[in-house]
Subunit: 238 residues, 2 copies
DNA sequence: AGAAAATTGTAACAAATGTTACAAAATCAA
DNA sequence: TTGATTTTGTAACATTTGTTACAATTTTCT
């Protein structure tokens, strides 16, 4: 998909403002002038997409590192019945499918759609490997990026492995109140959390209510307060 | 844990047979003499553990790359009630927790126990980064290793996201019969698959039976044959 | 081959979750 | 602020899953 599309000439350009890239995980710890120096020395492409455009198709090969320079894109899965399930948003200056550039399955696992007008920077894999070998900060940063991805997924699986919603919730709450904090803010809506747990929304709501009724937690809006840590821990042994 | 233990002198040695490392994912594509040359040039340690020994404690910091030179180790989680859940076996010549050497959370997520007499090779993170920068094959291999880990976890989450066991099973079966093959071998026992799905074993057995009764698949032992692909696909839209 | 161990099928029942629907509450946007 | 939209609580009921138990079958080990 990406490689077959034709764009008007102005969609490609050789120079740009590298300042925005200081925020990118890949360039963390590198000064903007330094980033500019590094990038001007290597082959790369820029492409722009209008809001709503399909940028890559699920199943397309991943042959390059793709960084969102500006705008926001989303990953989405399409199931058999054609229904679309949103997976995640990737705002600038994030990278697309960085865990699929290497490894055995170099295929996009999702469709990628531009949520807003978007500009991408594209660096071929071979070029990128050379970049990694020549710059230890970028190497470290990239290793951090894909390792963080793994760590995120590992943690998610830890929730999903609990058979009951109570178990998942207990694990989730304990996880967020590790450092002696007794309360924390559910950073999302119940609808989103239900999705995250792969569970029906009213079921989650019900279980939250039960935990409160039983005096394990107090929930006021999105603020969760742990009342009985010990009994929460017990729920963790499915 | 690892760094505090004391061993008899013979547990440490400077020279070893590097032939076994040709099989290691980290050294794939490198000849054994080359591996020897690379490894003799860098700082490393070897440690041996008797079968049954606790090698690392869940929560210990990950500061080095650890490769299982010989033997088999297992990762296990311990829950609140002290019950132990086995996570995975890592036979030689695999690496321990490679996705936790980098990234933000450099802590072992599990206990690691020697299943048999085991020898480990330990390379400090800083030394390892230098190795990655000096050898593009090792760099590629390591990127492949942690990327494969991510890809494995992503796929697992795809199953777990289905709310019903039927959905999980359908996705699982379709996944394994992509390349026009209509049948495949369940590479594990139902008990293990039930664990993988985070689901009770009799429930899995029941659903397998239902799929067969309804004529979607045929199951004879561990051999699964797809009969009605279309209806299986439909189950995939939870 | 034969005994022992692990795996599988199955049934009855309890428990948890999903579904649908609707109203109350909170949040967002004009 | 107000009106619109989204989120949340809740209830009734259907469906799915878990639990326990036991026998049949298969695999493993000697």
């Amino acid at each position: 998909m990406l490689q077959n599309q034709k764009f008007p000439a102005y969609f490609y350009r050789k120079n740009m403002d590298y300042d925005q890239l200081i925020q990118a995980p890949l360039f963390r710890g590198i000064k903007s002038e330094e980033i500019e120096k590094i990038l001007t020395g290597i082959d790369k492409k820029f492409k722009k997409f209008k809001a709503g455009t399909l940028i890559v198709h699920s199943g397309d090969p991943v042959t390059s590192l793709i960084i969102v320079i500006s705008g926001v894109v989303k990953g989405e899965m399409v199931d058999y019945s054609g229904r679309v399930i949103k997976i995640e948003d990737i705002p600038a200056p994030g990278a697309l499918a960085s865990a699929f550039l290497f490894g055995n399955k170099n295929l996009f696992p999702v469709n990628v759609v531009a949520l807003s007008d978007t500009e991408l920077m594209i660096i071929e894999k071979q070029v990128f490997i050379r970049l990694l070998m020549n710059n230890d900060i970028i190497l470290s940063n990239f290793l951090d990026m894909i390792s963080n991805r793994s760590q995120f997924l590992s943690e998610k699986i830890r929730f999903l492995n609990f058979k009951t919603i109570k178990g998942k919730l207990a694990q989730f709450i304990l996880q967020r109140t590790m450092n002696d904090r007794s309360s924390f803010n559910l950073g999302m809506t119940q609808t989103e959390l239900a999705d995250y747990f792969a569970v029906a929304r009213p079921s989650l709501s019900r279980v939250l209510g039960e935990l409160e009724d039983e005096g394990l937690i107090e929930a006021r809006g999105k603020a969760i307060k742990v009342i009985d840590r010990t009994r929460l821990l017990k729920l963790t042994s499915d």
